[in-house]
Subunit: 438 residues, 2 copies
Amino acid sequence: MLTMDGVKRIKWINIEEIKRQVDSVVTIDACIHKIRSMSEFAFIILRTGRYLIQGIYEKDRCGDSIEQLKVGCYVKVKGHVREDERAILGFEILLTEIKILSSPQGEYPLNVSHKKLGCGLEANLDNRSVALRNPYERAIFKIQEGVVSGFREFMLKEGFTQVFTPKIVAAGAEGGANIFKLDYFNQEAYLAQSPQFYKQTCVAFFDRVFEIAPVYRAEKHNTSRHLNEYIGLDFEMGYIESMYDVMEMETAMLKYTLEYLYTHYKEYLEILGVTLPVVDTIPSLTFMEALEVLKGKGGKNKYDLEPEDEVFLYEYAKENWGSEFIFITHFPASKRPFYAMNDKEDPRFALSFDLLFRGLEITTGGQRIHDYNEQVAKMKEMGMHPEEFYHYLNIHKYGMPPHGGLGIGLERLVMKLLDLQNIRQASMFPRDVHRLEP
Amino acid sequence: MLTMDGVKRIKWINIEEIKRQVDSVVTIDACIHKIRSMSEFAFIILRTGRYLIQGIYEKDRCGDSIEQLKVGCYVKVKGHVREDERAILGFEILLTEIKILSSPQGEYPLNVSHKKLGCGLEANLDNRSVALRNPYERAIFKIQEGVVSGFREFMLKEGFTQVFTPKIVAAGAEGGANIFKLDYFNQEAYLAQSPQFYKQTCVAFFDRVFEIAPVYRAEKHNTSRHLNEYIGLDFEMGYIESMYDVMEMETAMLKYTLEYLYTHYKEYLEILGVTLPVVDTIPSLTFMEALEVLKGKGGKNKYDLEPEDEVFLYEYAKENWGSEFIFITHFPASKRPFYAMNDKEDPRFALSFDLLFRGLEITTGGQRIHDYNEQVAKMKEMGMHPEEFYHYLNIHKYGMPPHGGLGIGLERLVMKLLDLQNIRQASMFPRDVHRLEP
């Protein structure tokens, strides 16, 4: 019999600890990122899970030959830490041992060691397991982690409970044809288009909840801003007085998360060469006010915003109020889901909003109907059959506080934060109409 | 135009803050959990998202009547905080205002205000949106949140990166018939049985990764320990010397997470009436050693462990080594997946392990094959077609470090931590062969 105690685990070595060991010997596990042979020595760039570390190989100092060493090998090296301002991290490793742990079969089909890959999007995605070895590409997903961490930490501090709700469901929340069908033990089932029904349910007993989980949309759009599977950052909160309470919470969350990125993910922002937007106050226009603005560019009255309208409103908000974010509220009720509460003052409009960021809708949210009779009446008005929503309407029947919430598309937020041109770059393994692999 | 600044958001009032306001007036949003009328006054138990707070209603003191008030109403109350040792939280609220925000249409079909619901599992699950209003039932999901928080915090401290990988996939990872099929724009697709391929891919560039995400198993078993959709806590780590490094990491994680629950979720453990297990060292037996132990109860030699064997091994470990956890390693290779590395010393066995907790398998993990030729050879040996795994084998082709990892079933872990009888109690909205709603 053996025993495990957890103490004997392989410890993770933070780069700061290596820096503190100047002139001592360190052991590093890494991938050979680049080899640059000079006449007397060679630069061997070591890629760890987070950093590029400069190694110096000299024949006389190193006990191992580098004849078998090639880019893509995974190695365990030993060496002296030497301060050097010219090196990427301010130090380099004078290698004394290089033990090869594994060797690749082929040469990378992409320029992994370049600052940016420099290939087209298709080549990047087709060779995704190689592309992500490029420090620029992988930094995108450290930022993704940072956004999730910031969002999560903020939510917990504000008294929200994290929930996990099912993605295999009996009915779609958003309605429409954009839903994936599934054979579930000979029953018809769907993949959830949002956690809407479930997060509303949770408000009845947890007051405030959030979820970080996949969302499925069978949209046939094949654009630079649509994915068929994405990560939704959702929250829902009870005891609101109006949808503005939800918008205030989102504004505070965005401030917190951007601050969080600055504090904990600065090195990745530098690799990506981006400056994060400043959020001070976010302007909010009603849909009708937005139409007025759009008239300025020759737009005509309509019932929804087109992508080019969103871009125009962004530019307008930036120019007039110095904000890269803008809320649009009070959309025509007919264009919003059945669970959206209508404006009591003018029921043609719903208490529902979008948040646009740099010209792209990244959030839809609003106040929901909490009263049973009001929900049943709205369903009937919209030609729906309340009896098909037995479980959903049970929440209303047994009571809920006034509440509202929203959903944020994680990849859209990251895409716009990092000024990426295509949302697929912000998804590790994107799914679109044509792409199911890798 | 309006503006949002995030500062105007509705602040969350922690219970500790209310306690500090003894003799002052506080405002509380809550649900009416229970009303107990005495001759001169009434106890009104207020349920917030986390607590039960005792309110005292006296006609002379309160500006509002309680004639319309019923269990299930959501209210905004005002009152004086008065210390009272007999009250649940050590204080009570002398109510001066009760404003009804919303009223239910029907009476709860379950005994929500009882300590435990006391109904059968079917009634609980059929009326799930009501059942979860019971403080015992909802506490289970605070513990779920705590386990996720502890796991996540440990992983980040140890240098793991959180990743999000697709759940709609072109090929199953575990193989077999237990996979849900999906129509994906006229292509055949599946729901991921595990993030196996993707987390292995991520090791090539992040060294250490973890994921918290749904896992889908189309198993027809309808037992007390199977769900068809569950949350997987997965991790995968590079540069291991053996699978024991993975087991050490899991042991350390379990210690950390249990400590985390004790520190941050104690009040919910009290509601649930449970004592967490102590993890000091976890014994580990090989499969062959386990068979020897099982002979003691008249078991006969075989190739896998049955549920009753797992229970016997638990009892044996508890009696002999005082541990409620036990690792079983070196399973017959034929019973483990194609990506498991075979033991070089005896290739009939795989470097693969299970962790049993209180008689139930909660983890499967092991060392994976990282060498391209070794993986291709094992696939062929097992009658598989390597050409069908082009993208997966690309990871091996372009290099990976030696690595291993594991998957933990969140609901199974929570079920066993809390001594629940059925795994459905540990899933907010469980999915099984017969249950797709609510």
